[in-house]
Symmetry: C2
Subunit: 417 residues, 2 copies
């Protein structure tokens, strides 16, 4: 993102209205507080803004009753640069409250600096990327205001008083106005100051206020489908699936095997590549190197496979859990850890593995409290077995399924390839 380098620090801030009641969702709690992979939606969105270095401050505006909830979310998930502000009774009043923090900072003790450009986004649009933010912010600098748009999915119709069709809009001429939007701070702040109570209570959106009160014609920027707003229950399902999909793109295989097991380890590594986009393989000793592990984690890897011959299995899995815990890998997302036991023998004898099972179940329950999901997988094979590749295929399929599902109810189970 070359263009972002030239951005002077402190000139872009963001306001995230998160005060909605979520009526349309039909859920008990407002949708911005619904959990996706165990973490509230608003935290996912805040994180998406927070990782962008050139956004200096993020104001999250919530209703009075949710201020403590929001503060504990910030605490629990280690958010930085977020200030919680109390909202108003409508979306516009909430955004206005958020903007006031910057404008009135000389009156209060608030240390936030007034930004040149302010981004306004939605707490319920978690999949926001840097490129669209940058486009919208740059367009706002040039035009005073800018906003993301999308093609209309449905035809828009106007109804007459009797509930019948008055006319259909020509779909190609119109667009859906989405978020993010961005404004020169002085323009949007002035617009909010000048607008009347009707605007604040019933007005549809900020772009319109900037046009009406500041004669600023916003630049419209074509955005990606990912900008959509989590509105209905189905949108929560979709968001959960997208996050799971993103989390299952990478796996790190940790191995220190010698002898015959090297063959199976290599085979599994190769076979996994046709299931999972990126498969890394590191040794147990490397995994004890803090710097190396930090790089793996910065690379957004949330899945680990610990391979061992059966004797040392349990201790190594425990060691890896300690490493993952110390590196805070599981703060934002649940981490999947699959303990793969290679069992070479001529005669099947499962009983010793089954004795381990009770211990693994208890262990997995404990470790789940740290947001790490442990599963066991037994690869039982005979030397020079002609069906070895088939067994490894089965193992890769099970591993891939466990990573894609991230099912917390199946932790501690010992699956068999």
């Amino acid at each position: 993102m070359e263009l972002s380098d030239s951005w002077s620090a402190g000139s872009v801030a963001a306001v995230l209205p998160a005060g909605g009641s979520g009526e349309r969702l039909g859920a008990a709690r407002p949708k911005q507080f619904c959990a996706l992979q165990g973490r509230p939606l608003v935290s996912h969105t805040a994180r998406a803004l927070e990782r962008i270095s050139w956004i200096s401050d993020i104001i999250v505006v919530v209703s009075l009753e949710h201020i403590e909830t929001m503060k504990s979310i910030i605490q629990k998930y280690g958010h930085k640069r977020i200030t919680v502000v109390e909202g108003g009774v409508t979306r516009h009043r909430s955004i206005f409250n958020g903007l006031k923090i910057f404008a009135e900072n000389k009156l209060s003790n608030c240390p936030l600096q007034k930004p040149e450009v302010v981004i306004i986004h939605d707490a319920v649009r978690p999949f926001i990327e840097e490129d669209i933010l940058l486009k919208v912010v740059k367009a706002a600098k040039d035009h005073g205001a800018a906003g993301a748009i999308r093609p209309l999915v449905s035809t828009v119709v106007a109804s007459s008083a009797d509930g019948c069709l008055d006319h259909s809009l020509e779909r190609a001429r119109y667009r859906a106005s989405e978020m993010p939007q961005a404004f020169l701070f002085d323009i949007i702040y002035q617009a909010y100051h000048q607008c009347n109570d009707y605007d604040l209570d019933y007005g549809t959106e900020c772009l319109h206020l900037a046009l009406k009160y500041c004669k600023t014609k916003a630049k419209l920027i074509e955005g990606s489908p990912d900008l959509w707003k989590v509105t209905y229950k189905r949108d929560l399902y979709a968001a959960e699936s997208i996050i799971k999909d993103n989390l299952s793109q990478q796996v790190c295989v940790i191995t220190d095997m010698k002898g015959d097991d090297v063959q199976v380890g290599f085979l599994l590594h190769e076979t996994l590549k046709s299931h999972i986009k990126q498969v890394k393989r590191i040794s147990v000793s490397l995994c004890k190197d803090d710097n190396y592990m930090q790089n793996i984690i910065l690379g957004q890897c949330y899945n680990f496979i610990c391979m061992h011959v059966k004797k040392s299995a349990f201790q190594e899995t425990q060691q890896l859990v300690d490493i993952l815990e110390n590196a805070n890998v599981s703060t934002l997302y649940p981490v999947v850890l699959i303990s793969v036991h290679l069992n070479v023998s001529e005669n099947a004898s499962f009983s010793s593995e089954m004795e381990d099972l009770t211990r693994i179940k208890e262990f997995a329950r404990e470790v789940k409290k740290k947001n790490i999901l442990v599963y066991g997988l037994l690869i039982h094979y005979n030397k020079d077995d002609p069906q070895l590749q088939e067994t490894v295929n089965s193992a890769a399929t099970i591993i891939s399924a466990l990573i894609k599902d991230r099912n917390p109810e199946l932790i501690g189970q010992l699956l068999v390839a």
Copy 2:
């Protein structure tokens, strides 16, 4: 649905355009042919119309290259009352082709009768319910045309030639036009006959044509959020989750236990009720009664738990598979079958179960070809165990997770409660 009874047979038909290319989805195949729980989306939608007795004929319009695909879908999933028609290059031309089948039946050998009212729906809106269809059809009878609408999720904006905001529409005055729509056949057919090539190539929707060419002002009917159109990849995720959710509402527990096991069976049955909406319990003998089983299946139950003390486990599971297969339970959706093995003993001895495991895996692989997903669950407990309830809780959680996930990659595994 009292009002539907008064409907005279043969007067309502439906046209389902399914010719879209699915560009927006970014998938290899058009979205209407993407699989949801293993079955193409268009089959789900066709089924939703087909189960409504007062819709006499359903015309599915597909592009030339998909005619054979569509015919094999009809064959494979046992669809009735569906006629496949070749589409045109645009949606409107496809719908027109569908309508012609009824109007020109005297010319061809087509036995379809011209309906009084024709429903037009989308192949990619699978969650259509009878009540909205009935409302739209009745309104079409009264007004000549009718269509489902939804509130706008986003503000709609018009852009000027330079890509800037021209004006925002007042959201409250407009609606999104969705499907289904319905028309007096003569009106929509006349509209299509009169409209020009520009309408057929670029026109947005049928309601507009009825207004423009027949001066028919369509009645607009508020629909539910379920009417949404599967457009993007996220919509496929959402649809899959909704279907899984619907499939996991009911479970049928089949048991014939005597002695100590009755206690565990009862406990599990009670505990499952807090995980799954509807839990039925029947005996093995009842399950061999064809009529009884047909009722269970008509009640849309796609999940079965077969409970046994360990000795007879395998044979009974096999018997149940035969019963489910003969009853064609798994034609439309994968059926989950969990074989629960109760193992009462003072000393844990897993080895005999583990010997069964290899057989269960092979069995499950075979049965999967019949769209039945078999999993094993071992409930190992000691008599008068104070932790029995905890073990049963664990079993219920695992059962519920298996039913909700319906994961084909984990079949044949023996999980332990």
